[in-house]
Every structure is written in C-alpha cells, then in structure tokens.
C-alpha cells in the first residue's frame, strides 16, 4: 500500500511540471542519443580500421569516448540540478507534513530512475534513427566512404545502456541523500542571497595578469608542438584550463563592474539590473563558463579539423597527379562519353607490346609533352612539367619505368624503349593507345567519369590503392583514408556543441524559478514588457557570448598545432566556414534558451 502511494506520488510529480519535465527529458534523450551515436563509431573497431590509415585510430576513438563521457557527466549533473530545483520545494512540503525522510528519499530515487530509464530508451531509439539520417546525409554531401558502418550496433546499445544507468543510479543516490540531509528550511527557500564578494584589488589585478599569461603560455606551447611533442599538449591543457578560469573569475568580472561604475551606461534603462544579474551570475558560473569555453574550442576545433580534412582530400589529390583520368584503348562508345565532358587537356600516346616489352612512340611526346608528379607524402611533390620525347631520351630508363606505371598490371611486361615513327611502324606487336585527360572541374565531373575509370581499372587490372597516375583513383584512396577523420571531427564537434550549449541552457533555466520574483518586481515598478525581454536577451546573450569569444580565441591559436605538425594543410584557410556553421548552431541554442527562459520568468 505504502509502496503504491510512493509510486503514485512520484508519478504525479512528473505530471505537475509537464513543460519543465519535457525540457529536461528531451535534454537527457539528446545526450543519450549522442552518446549512442558516437558509440556506433567507437565500439566498431572494424569500421575504424577499415576507414583510416592510422593504426592508433582505436585509441583516438577511445580518447573521444572518454572526453564525451566527461562532458556527458557534467551535462547530466546540470540537468540533475535542474530536476532538483523543480522538486525540492514540493518534497520539503511533504517532509513538513510529516512524511518520513526515508520515504521521500525513496521517492526522489524512484523519480530520477524512472526519468533516466525512459530517457535512455528513447535516446537509443533516437540515436539509431539519427545515425541513419546523419550518416546518409554526410555520405551523400561529402562523398564519405564509410565501410562497415551500421546504425544498429549491439555493443553500442550495451555500452550506452550501462554508462547511463550507472550515472542515473549515481544521481538518484545523490539526490536521495541530498534531500535527506539538507535542512527543510533550505529546501523550502533555495533562493540564493547574493553576497558581495570582497576582492583585494591587488590580487584581482594579479589574477587578470595570471590568466592572460597562462593563456599565452598555453598558446605558445600549441604553436611549438613540433618541438614539445606530448609535453606540449599537457602543458597547454593545464595552462589554458587554468587561464580560462582566471579570465572568467577576474577579467570579465572587472569589465562588468567597471560598467556598473559608469553612470552614463549603468543608469540607462535596465542596464543596472542586467549588470547586477551578470555580476552575481558570473561569479556563480565561473567554473561552468571556463569549462564551456574549453569545450567550445574543442567542438569548434573538431569541426574545423573535420572540414580541414575534407579540404585536404581535394588538395592532396590535386598535387598528387597531373591527369584526372586515363583510358587505355578506349572504345568509340567511351570516346563519345569523353566528348561530353568539359576537358581542358587531352594527351594521346601510342605504344606497342612485342615479346613482353613495351615500346613507346617518342614523336607523340614531342608533339604533346608529358606532365608527371611523384608524390612523396608532402604537399610539395617532385614535379616534371612538359617533358618532351627528346628530354625523355636523355634519361631513358627513368622515363620508361615511369611510363610503365601508367599501364596497370605490368607483372608480365617489361620496359622496352622509345621508337621513332618509322621504327614504331615497322615494329611487330600489338599497338595500343593511352589517353590522358584533364577536366575543367574535377570535383564537379568526378561522378560522370566514375564508370569510365572503373571499367578501365578493370581492363588493365589496376590496383587502385597503389595508383598515383590519375586523380580519380587518388581521390578514391585519399577520400577513404580521411573520411573517417572528417566524419569523426564533424560528429564530435556537433555532439560537443549540443551538449555544452545544453549545459548552459539547463544552468540558466534552473535559476529561472528564483528569477521570476525579480521580474515581477520590475513589472510592478513599471518596466515595459519589451524592455524586460530585451534585458533578458542581453543577459543570457552575454552568458552565451563570453565563453564563445574565449573559445574562438582558443581555436585561432590552437590551430597553430596543426600547422606546425603538418597534420592539416593550411588549417586557417576558409576558417570563416566552420566558425560560421558553428555560430549559427550555437545561436540557435541561445535563442531557444532565451525563449524558454522568457516564457518562464515573464509568465503573466
């Protein structure tokens, strides 16, 4: 009977604040969905190994899981505090009415578990659907080639289930404990009374300087990662994390307080109120905002790097081969298809195979000189441009072996020599043609040449993975290598962004119940509705903007790391694109938070 009652109370608790629970529940669902989605990658070694050339990829993904687990935990902590803020008053009332604290503890335990469990299940289902949608979208939009990737992954389901159940049981215990040990009065009146922080001006100034110096050291370490190696990473993590904390604890506070002391600004409209709110909020949020600026940088960095890899695919393919595609002994039908393409360059070379040896018609090269690059793993490969037949004859052996590489499977034929027109005509043996083409826009027409190249690869038994003569094959190989990285970068970036923005959202919304009273007072004083909306937009906007500002600065300096280690070619190129995409998503979170908060505090 008692148990039934307890269950009824817990469920009725859910019913009462339906809207708030909807926000909470969707937040939890999203975090479970994101975690699941990442696990479909991380818990799938087959996928990881087949999609990247790095042997350490599994380790990298494990590191990613670890990072994601930490931010998920932090995120759930804020979501949980939001839950507590919804419930503590009502539970305190039960206690006042004489309910046993053990019963109340059971109640909150039950409630947390019920919400958590439902969120996990919904989250996994959403995760499966989203994985399906996103992977399709990314594969289509970005020409990703993902092998062994499936939205349904048993191990990912298991890992997500265990991880989240563990966390929810932890929070359920924590909540139950908190309600039992916190004095009723405090539960009833959770409103925090702001107390003036006494800061020694000297120490304060010192903190500002320390913050900036620590950040500078961190940025310096990242820019010298080529020399500092792993030590540089540790150094940067420690200095940038603590530097961000100091900057929030001192610099931003100093700016706000100096604004408060400027009557021309502070005494305009609701500025004094907004500044007052920010002054107390920032102090309360220092740790969170510092963490968010770091997460912001990681997320933005991940997206930038993802896009960087995408650009690298094109860049690497471009520098690695001069000809976009090659056809051997093309049929008339194939030639017709080629005629429909927008070409900028066509070279035709003749050769004959006699007694297992290849003989080239040297006049062809005099007529249309040959271009060749030798990829050497860097962005500055060895390039030969406009090599004529005459030049080839000077270094016969080298050029014969280079041309040999254009013929596919050469296990049964050997380099023969260069022949003049007369010699070529009299040479017995089968005559062949090789056509080399350059397209006006490779990326735009690569899908049209795909069937031609695949048929030709088959014809000459070409091992695609070892071919560097034509751009299409290079593209195929490099795209395969970098797609995994690109996918992970974009995925982690968006997932981190969703989480960090939701952390902020929950933190701000948790305070809404306490803030409601203040807005009522302002209304009574005669503040117009639009002015209140504007003030809220400003206040929440600042809280969103400050970590974003610092986060962008982190990224701008952090990208040096990729520059000095040569991991990405030109990491700063088109930086506006990832930053733009990121800020649009971030702004979306801001608008949603602003909207919900206004709905809550300006209720009529």
């Amino acid at each position: 009977m008692v148990k039934k009652m307890t269950l009824k109370l817990a469920l009725s608790g859910l019913k009462n604040h339906l809207k708030d629970y909807f926000i909470l529940f969707s937040g939890l669902t999203i975090s479970a969905a994101i975690f699941y989605m990442f696990q479909t990658l991380a818990a799938n070694p087959l996928f990881l190994k087949s999609n990247t050339y790095l042997s350490s990829i599994v380790v990298i993904f494990n590191l990613g899981t670890f990072l994601l687990a930490i931010i998920t935990f932090a995120y759930l902590n804020y979501a949980n505090n939001f839950l507590i803020s919804l419930r503590s008053r009502i539970y305190a009332m039960y206690l006042m009415l004489g309910a046993k604290s053990r019963k109340i503890a059971q109640l909150i335990f039950l409630e947390t578990i019920v919400i958590g469990f439902l969120a996990i299940l919904t989250g996994i289902v959403c995760g499966i659907i989203l994985t399906q949608l996103i992977s399709r979208l990314l594969i289509k939009q970005l020409d990703l080639s993902l092998i062994h990737y499936s939205p349904w992954n048993n191990q990912a389901i298991l890992v997500t289930l265990i991880f989240f159940l563990f966390i929810f049981v932890f929070f359920a215990l924590k909540n139950a404990r908190k309600l039992v040990y916190t004095p009723i009065l405090k539960l009833l009146n959770q409103e925090k009374t702001p107390v003036r922080a006494h800061k020694n001006p000297l120490l304060w100034g010192g903190e500002i300087i320390a913050g900036i110096v620590l950040l500078a050291i961190g940025y310096w370490a990242l820019a010298h990662l080529d020399k500092l190696n792993v030590n540089g990473i540790f150094m940067a993590i420690i200095t940038i994390v603590s530097g961000s904390y100091f900057v929030f604890d001192s610099l931003f506070l100093a700016i706000i307080q100096s604004l408060q002391h400027r009557p021309n600004f502070a005494l305009k409209r609701l500025h004094s109120f907004t500044l007052g709110q920010l002054n107390f909020r920032l102090r309360d949020l220092t740790k969170l905002l510092a963490m968010i600026s770091i997460m912001f940088a990681l997320a933005l960095g991940a997206i930038t790097v993802g896009i960087g890899f995408h650009r690298d695919i094109a860049t690497i393919t471009n520098v690695c081969s001069d000809y976009d595609f090659i056809l051997h002994d093309p049929s008339t039908r194939e030639l017709d298809q080629v005629n429909n393409l927008k070409l900028t360059d066509t070279s035709v070379y003749h050769y004959k195979i006699a007694s297992n040896k290849v003989y080239w018609l040297v006049d062809d090269f005099n007529l249309k000189p040959f271009n060749h690059v030798i990829p050497n793993g860097s962005f500055n490969p060895i390039k030969y441009s406009h090599v004529t037949g005459k030049q080839m004859l000077k270094d016969k052996n080298q050029w014969l072996s280079i041309l040999q590489s254009y013929l596919g499977d050469t296990s049964t034929i050997l380099p023969g020599g260069f022949l003049s027109k007369k010699e070529f005509e009299t040479k017995t043996g089968k005559e062949h043609i090789i056509n080399l083409y350059v397209l006006k826009n490779f990326m735009a027409e690569k899908n049209q040449i795909k069937p031609l190249v695949l048929a030709d690869n088959k014809k000459i038994k070409l091992d695609v993975n070892r071919d560097s003569t034509q751009k299409y094959n290079m593209f195929f190989v490099i795209n395969g290598m970098l797609s995994g990285f690109e996918f992970m970068g974009l995925f982690l970036g968006i997932a981190f962004l969703a989480m960090l923005a939701s952390c902020l959202m929950f933190k701000i919304l948790s305070g809404a119940n306490n803030d409601m009273h203040r807005y009522q007072i302002l209304k009574q004083i005669g503040a117009r509705h639009q002015l209140l909306e504007y003030s809220i937009a400003q206040e929440i906007g600042t809280i969103f903007l400050l970590p974003a500002l610092l986060g962008v600065v982190h990224v701008l300096f952090g990208l040096q790391m990729f520059k000095v280690t040569n991991l990405i070619y030109e990491p700063y190129k088109n930086l506006i694109i990832p930053i733009g995409i990121f800020l649009v998503l971030y702004a979306f979170y801001y608008l949603v938070t602003d909207f919900i908060y206004q709905k809550k505090v300006l209720r009529k």
Binding site: T193, L270, S272
Partner: protein
C-alpha cells in the same frame, strides 16, 4: 478637495465559467482625497488583498470602475499600464521586494533609469530622497547587508522617487520589529503632512492603522464602516480602532 482615487461599484468574482464562483468583492465604493493618509482594515478573507491587488493594477475587477489620478486603471493595457505603474503609483510591500542583486542606490534609481532621465539628475534625486528617509549611509550596500527597517525605507525611497500620485502600502510594517515599524510609520506621517503625499495602507495591525486619518473597514467584500481620526491623538484613536475592530469583526 479633489479625489486622487475613486472606486465605483467594484465587484470581483473568482472562478471560471463552469466552476463554482467565489465573490471576493461585492460592491465597493470609496474615494481617497488628495493628500489623505487612509487605511483599509479587515480580517483575512475579507477581500482587502483583492482590493489592493486591483488598486495596484495587478488584478482587474469583474465590473466597476477605478480611477487613479484621472486614469481608469481597469482599461489600461500593455505599455500604457507599465507607464501608469511607473509614474502614478508607488508600492511598498511587507517583504520589501528589493532587487537583491542591486545596491540600495541602484534599487532606488531604477524607476528613473526606466524613464531615461539623465544620470546627473538621477544622482541628485537619489541623494535628496535618501536624505529625507535617512538612508544616505547605506546607499552602496546590498539589501542582504542591511536591516529590515532600512530595507523598508529603501523600498519607500524607490516607491517615492518618481513622485507618484499615491503611495500604496501592503502591510509595510509586517516584517519589522516594533521600533522599526514605528520609525517607518512616523516617516510616512511626515511625508504625508510635509510633502502632501497621498498614502493608502492596507493592514490588519491597529498600531499601523492608528497613524492614518481615516480608516475603512472591509468585511465579506463590502466596506462596512468608516472611522475618522479628526482631532484625536494617536493613542486615543488606537483605542477607538481596537474597539471598532472587536465590534466589527463579531
């Protein structure tokens, strides 16, 4: 004398169309003259809170008219309502309603900032009113750092700084100890007599009521009795109120 507040045939019924109705105010009529210090007394459930909510524009009557300084407040909406609150009425509440994250000075200045007055003029007016209410020394403090009496003075300063047509008080001494309460009531009497500020006080405390010039007793949603102080001293008026409360409530 002109009237600053005119309440005519005000009725307030709670409950939606198909729900059981509760009549909070049946038919309330009264006027407050300019410069008057008037008290409204009643037990809980008498309708006095409903009446104050209507006067302070937080709630609207079901029927009837309320004029404050010539404005029919039952017809005000949106920005007009906000502007009316900002210029025509000042409030002081039992729980002070100061903004905790602003200093006393910022709290007092806020209504003027809303009017976009120049900072220089705001400063001058804040200095003036805080001298009048003897709170000049605590201007830089936060509400959490001052006493209840000081908080209520700060709230009064904020309510009066826009020179409203009327000051409305909702049990303003309810959270104060007796000496702070007396100090506040003396201040209010001073403001009323010297600065001719009209004050309407809702209270159930006979001591607070004894500072008023006229008292309206409300019971079951109607004003049942009126008591005038005339030339009585405060203590005698207090005893008169006590007797009246006893006979009126029974």
């Amino acid at each position: 004398m002109t009237s600053i507040v005119a309440v005519q045939q005000v009725k307030k019924v709670y409950g939606k169309v198909h729900e059981e109705k509760t009549v909070a105010l049946k038919n309330v009529n009264f006027q407050v003259e300019t410069g008057e210090f008037i008290g409204i007394m009643g037990a809980s459930g008498s309708g006095k809170s409903t009446l104050l909510n209507i006067l302070s524009t937080i709630d609207r009557p079901t029927s009837g008219q309320v004029l404050i300084n010539g404005y029919d407040i039952t017809k005000l909406r949106g920005n007009k309502l906000s502007d009316f609150r900002a210029h025509q009425i000042g409030f002081i509440f039992q729980d002070f309603n100061l903004l905790e994250d602003l200093t006393v000075e910022e709290n007092i200045a806020l209504p003027l900032s809303l009017e976009e007055m120049s900072p220089k003029r705001i400063k001058a007016l804040v200095t003036l009113i805080s001298k009048k209410l003897s709170i000049s020394s605590i201007l830089k403090k936060y509400p959490a750092e001052i006493s209840g009496g000081q908080k209520q003075r700060a709230a009064a300063a904020r309510a009066l700084i826009t020179k409203p047509a009327i000051l409305l008080g909702d049990e303003p001494t309810g959270s104060l100890d007796s000496s702070s309460a007396r100090e506040l009531l003396n201040t209010m009497t001073n403001l009323n007599q010297k600065d001719k500020i009209s004050i309407l006080l809702v209270t159930h405390d006979p001591v607070s009521a004894s500072f008023c010039q006229r008292i309206l007793f409300i019971k079951d949603g109607v004003i049942g009795k009126e008591l005038r102080r005339n030339n009585l001293d405060r203590i005698s008026f207090y005893h008169q109120i006590l007797n009246e409360v006893e006979s009126f409530e029974s």
